[in-house]
Symmetry: C2
Subunit: 330 residues, 2 copies
């Protein structure tokens, strides 16, 4: 049994143990999550996603260091590795970051490998974020590798989503990325000291134009007209993802990135989108839990033999799946 | 109402109309699917996936032509475009293929854009494949753009999955692709007349070694030892994805690719994996339908107001989602 009070008191050992319970979705974890829930809703959840090789891990490392040292925030990092849905192996790159951050009680880094369905992974990640939130971490960074559905899940979970690119990624990558641009609140070109950074920036800008046609107004009229119009970053209704250039190995551009994130928080608060994102996240969570509970009750109510017999009829094509469901769910 | 008999009789107009109904998941579609289900289970479902720019569309075109002209098979193509989960736009490249294949009653090409959840897309695709199967198409090719979860869904649906690469895709693409290699039954290097084909082949081979360590035996001992050992392609338990090189714009390598696909069918049949894949596919389908039916019944039984009130309590952190589910599902 985990004492929820010890989590609220900042007991790191209790926290570590609870996170393992949460990952394994144990009854103890569920009890603790219920007890901790009233203490959640304060943390700023930041999603960081992008293709492998963009340097996400070291960027997250720098972000965490910056929030620690400059803003005195308590920072938790959940490093999610969806890797392959089939193998479930953990290939999370360098844990070098640990050297800079370990020993600091205001920082907590947790890796999580994919086990089975991405849906389950999203739920575990959401639950871990809740635990960190209740435990008083001001910033919870959720880092994930860019692989389709998982970014969407991160976008649903986070208040602010960073999509990280790096120069030298081909046109094909760009095409894949077109979809995930839509979930970006801040675009980061990491490794910005490398050749090709102008091309990457140009490509991102033209994709942003496609995704946010209103931006054209500001671009086409230049600074002269822009002066008369409200700054897009402070317009309550509109947020155009800024493009931030960073070099995470030496920390260049991190201060500016943190400022951009702060502007996004301000935008979310002033526009009321902070509450909207909170609502969306909790709706998705409730929906997933209802699904799970319904399936569990279904399995309890339908004898295995009945299910198996029906499935054999489906295999022999004498009963269609649609008919089977009608029979199973009276 | 759609007359299922007319589908079985090969009425193309009825088929077109039913496919639209299936895409919109109408009651008429469900009735037709139930009536047609006993006539399914004969078609060979071939999945074709890979990154944008690998030339999948023209490859599928060539495959369809080959099956038509050389094997006299009836071929259906479902071109799935997951594009962005948010916009749902259809950006399916060249429909130039139509020029070669249109007018041939033994070929049917259908495009489908993503609408909302990938889960729903997978279900629609599975249902369309069933319709084509019942309508007497021998080969059903399901083409999808490589974007994470959607490949996995294709792999679950197809008997044989082709993963298509092209020379000149960077290391980062390769890293992304590591996961989808595991779903490949046949690897295709398309545009094999382009420079860099040796590098792509080398990269794929080393990744195959990681995914299928047993292959090393054959590679390291060369043809001398291989003669004494069973050919991996005909070993009932083991299938190592062959690497096929094609140039889809002129049809080079297509005959060899069709032969490789035929060897895979033989492997599936002899090893009993054909039935296993059938079973996996139908299990996933039944599971999705049960989910859907349970959620539908839940929404019918729980008044909207009760749900809304409970959700407001969650938003104010006075009730946790886990407790809410316990209250909603008595």
């Amino acid at each position: 049994m985990i004492n929820s009070q010890s989590i609220l008191n900042g007991d790191r050992l209790a926290l570590t143990r609870l996170l393992t319970q949460v990952e394994n979705n144990t009854p103890a974890a569920r009890t603790a999550l219920i007890e901790l829930f009233p203490h959640t809703g304060k943390a700023h959840l930041i999603g960081v996603t992008g293709a492998p090789g963009a340097g996400k891990s070291s960027l997250v490392n720098q972000l965490a260091l910056h929030y620690r040292k400059t803003k005195e925030k308590r920072v938790a990092v959940i490093a999610v590795d969806p890797s392959s849905p089939f193998t479930g192996g953990a290939v999370l790159g360098d844990r070098v970051r640990m050297r800079d951050l370990s020993g600091d009680p205001g920082v907590f880094i947790r890796s999580m490998a994919s086990r089975g369905s991405l849906g389950g992974l999203a739920q575990s990640t959401a639950n871990m974020a809740q635990v960190f939130d209740a435990a008083g971490f001001d910033i919870v960074i959720i880092e994930t590798v860019g692989a389709g559905q998982s970014e969407v899940d991160v976008a649903r979970l986070a208040h602010t989503t960073l999509v990280v690119e790096a120069p030298g990624m081909g046109d094909d990558i760009q095409a894949i990325k077109a979809g995930i641009l839509e979930i970006a609140d801040v675009l980061v070109i990491n490794k910005a000291d490398r050749p090709g950074v102008e091309n990457t920036e140009k490509a991102l800008k033209s994709m942003l134009e496609l995704a946010h046609p209103t931006q054209r107004v500001f671009q086409h009229h230049g600074t002269f007209m822009s002066a008369a119009l409200p700054e897009p970053q402070t317009d309550a209704r509109l947020w155009i993802p800024p493009i931030q250039k960073t070099v995470s190995i030496n920390g260049k551009g991190i201060t500016e990135l943190v400022d951009a994130i702060a502007r996004h928080v301000q935008h979310l608060t002033e526009s009321g989108h902070w509450v909207v994102r909170d609502r969306t996240r909790l709706e998705a969570e409730l929906d997933a839990l209802i699904h799970e509970a319904l399936m569990l009750r279904f399995r309890e109510n339908v004898p295995q033999k009945q299910y198996d017999d029906m499935f054999e009829k489906i295999m022999s094509r004498s009963l269609s799946p649609l008919e089977a469901v009608r029979l199973l769910i009276r």
